[in-house]
Amino acid sequence: MKKIESIIRPHLLDAVKSALHEVGIMGMTVTEVRGFGRQKGHTEMYRGSEYRTDFLPKVKIEVVVPEELVEAVVEAILRTARTGKFGDGKIFILPVEEAIRIRTGERGEHAV
């Protein structure tokens, strides 16, 4: 099992979600996050005072999937979250030791 964390542009969440659904992902966890990479922040101006904001709003999607689905998921995210400009985000893949469904106590890939 792998956990796939992707940090994407907020307005592309719906497109990514649909694409993940199509490759068989039935559940996910989504968090509103802030951060920056190569994309610059923006400047706000109030009565001539300028405020620079470095941390831009992004959405983090976390899904845990069986090994054989990893490439399909990555491909789906790349296809739907990419605009080709700075700020498209990142994908991280992490190993997962165990998954447990709280309702039934089931363990392993069946639990995700």
Binding site: E44, M45, Y46, R47, G48, S49, Y51
Partner: protein
């Protein structure tokens, strides 16, 4: 409809007209010079000026601070409305408009509004109490305007003492000088609705207060941006709306002079909003919403002393000038000098008020208002000089007295909260409240504590089970 019906309607109508006529006649006999139209307008205008302080100014200022200080900022306006209204009834009115004492201050003949008759005084067609209330709303908003300079750091006790002392020692004498039969009135200084009394006085006092109280922690780099610009825009629009009562109400009658003041007020505000927006667009690349609203308020400030004395074209020029003067004050002067007049009370009210008071000496015309005077552009250079004296006197009184009042208060109690309280925010530190509680059930870690009564009840129940158990 039958003929019978028509006849009864006719009889009823004649009877009604007769009744109304008799009532009107009876009222005329009781108070000979009262005009119901003038009275209705002045009472309405008084309520409009009240609206300028709360919610108008409260929202205008409240949106500009960070979210941990919005309640304390709203409180400045709302509490001033309560405090200065009481002060006005008890002694403020008498000090301002009581019988003249050497041109300096009013005598205490009307303490607690004692001796205010029902009959209008000379040259007024409204009950004196309507005038008392109208003027009281001016005292309230003038004090509330100053509070924008020391938000996010002043202690509540210091604010409270300052508001009371300032209304008594600055506002009352100044209102007396200009409107209550004092020396500036005798000199012929023109101030239709409060350019000197309200705007220069509050703006200059705000500058001095910001210098004495000091900058906010971390100013300018670490200061947070406005937390709710739409709230500020709502406040600015309410100020504009209420300003019709402020300026057109200052005619003290529902007449053509009120209509002139209404027109000049509206024209100047609109022109100043445009001027600010276009200046910002050229200078900074984008026209901001906050800038446009700030410009409109600057225009309202500048037209205030002139509103009953100038033409509509002059109002456009005065408004345009206010947009430029205010923009310069906030964008150039303030950063260069480094004072933390947090919500730009000096830039908007002090500078644009000064521009408006002087512009009155340029553009005033007896063709507009025969009760006024001609300004420099109509051949009377002396009026500009008189206006300048009025402006200087206001600057000196406001600056000197604000300095003394704050030093006096600081002698007894600190003016500022501690840095720890400042970082936590004044809402929590001073008022034990938070403006925005967006808590999901079970997620906030917020548990309502039982009140003392509930706790007592709970322990009593625990000790004595009810008979049913």
């Amino acid at each position: 409809m039958t003929r019978e019906h028509r006849r009864w309607i006719l009889v009823g109508a004649i009877g009604l007209i007769g009744l109304v006529g008799r009532v009107a006649w009876a009222q005329d006999a009781a108070t000979s010079a009262t005009s119901s139209g003038d009275t209705a307008w002045l009472l309405t205008a008084s309520a409009l000026v009240m609206l300028m302080t709360a919610p108008g100014l409260a929202l205008f200022y409240g949106g500009l601070v960070s979210q941990r200080n919005v309640l304390s900022t709203l409180m400045h306006s709302f509490f001033t409305l309560c405090l200065i209204s009481v002060q006005w009834v008890v002694l403020g009115y008498s000090l301002s408009f009581g019988p003249d004492l050497e041109g300096i201050i009013g005598r205490l003949a009307h303490l607690g509004l004692r001796g205010i008759g029902e009959k209008p005084v000379a040259e007024m067609s409204v009950p004196p109490l309507a005038f008392v209330m109208f003027q009281g709303m001016f005292a309230v908003i003038t004090v509330a305007l100053i509070t924008g300079t020391f938000v996010e750091r002043i202690r509540f006790t210091a604010f409270l003492l300052f508001a009371f002392l300032w209304a008594t020692l600055v506002y009352a004498p100044l209102a007396h000088w200009v409107w209550g039969g004092g020396w500036l009135m005798k000199l012929g200084a023109l101030d239709f609705a409060g350019g000197t009394v309200v705007h220069i006085s509050s703006g200059v006092s705000a500058l001095v207060a910001s210098l004495i109280i000091g900058r906010r922690a971390g100013y300018p780099e670490k200061v947070l941006p406005p937390h709710n610009v739409p709230m500020t825009i709502m406040g600015a629009a309410l100020l504009w709306f209420g300003w019709f009562g402020f300026n057109a109400g200052s005619a003290l009658a529902a007449n053509s002079l009120a209509a002139i003041a209404f027109t000049t007020t509206h024209a100047a505000a609109a022109m100043a909003g445009l001027t600010w927006a276009f200046t910002e667009w050229l200078h900074r690349g984008k026209p901001t919403v906050l800038g446009t609203a700030t410009g409109a308020v600057a225009g309202l400030v500048a037209i205030t002393p002139a509103s009953g004395y100038v033409s509509a074209i002059a109002a456009l020029v005065i408004g345009g000038g206010a947009g430029l003067v205010g923009y310069w004050g906030i964008n150039v002067l303030k950063p260069r000098l480094g004072y933390d007049d947090s919500l730009d009370v000096f830039g908007v009210h002090g500078l644009c008020g000064t521009w408006g008071a002087l512009a009155t000496g340029l553009f005033a015309s007896r063709a507009v208002n025969p009760m006024g005077a001609d300004g420099a552009f109509f051949g009377n250079l002396g009026q500009l000089l008189v206006q300048l004296i009025g402006v200087l006197a206001t600057w000196v009184l406001a600056a000197g007295m604000t300095f003394l009042i704050l030093k006096l208060i600081a002698f007894f109690t600190p003016l500022r909260v501690t840095e720890e309280e400042e970082i936590a925010g004044l809402d929590l530190a001073l008022h034990g409240e938070v403006a925005y509680n967006f808590l999901s059930p079970g997620m906030g870690g917020s548990v309502r504590l039982p009140s003392r009564a509930e706790a007592a009840l709970g322990s009593a129940q625990a000790e004595e089970p009810s008979p049913g158990d």
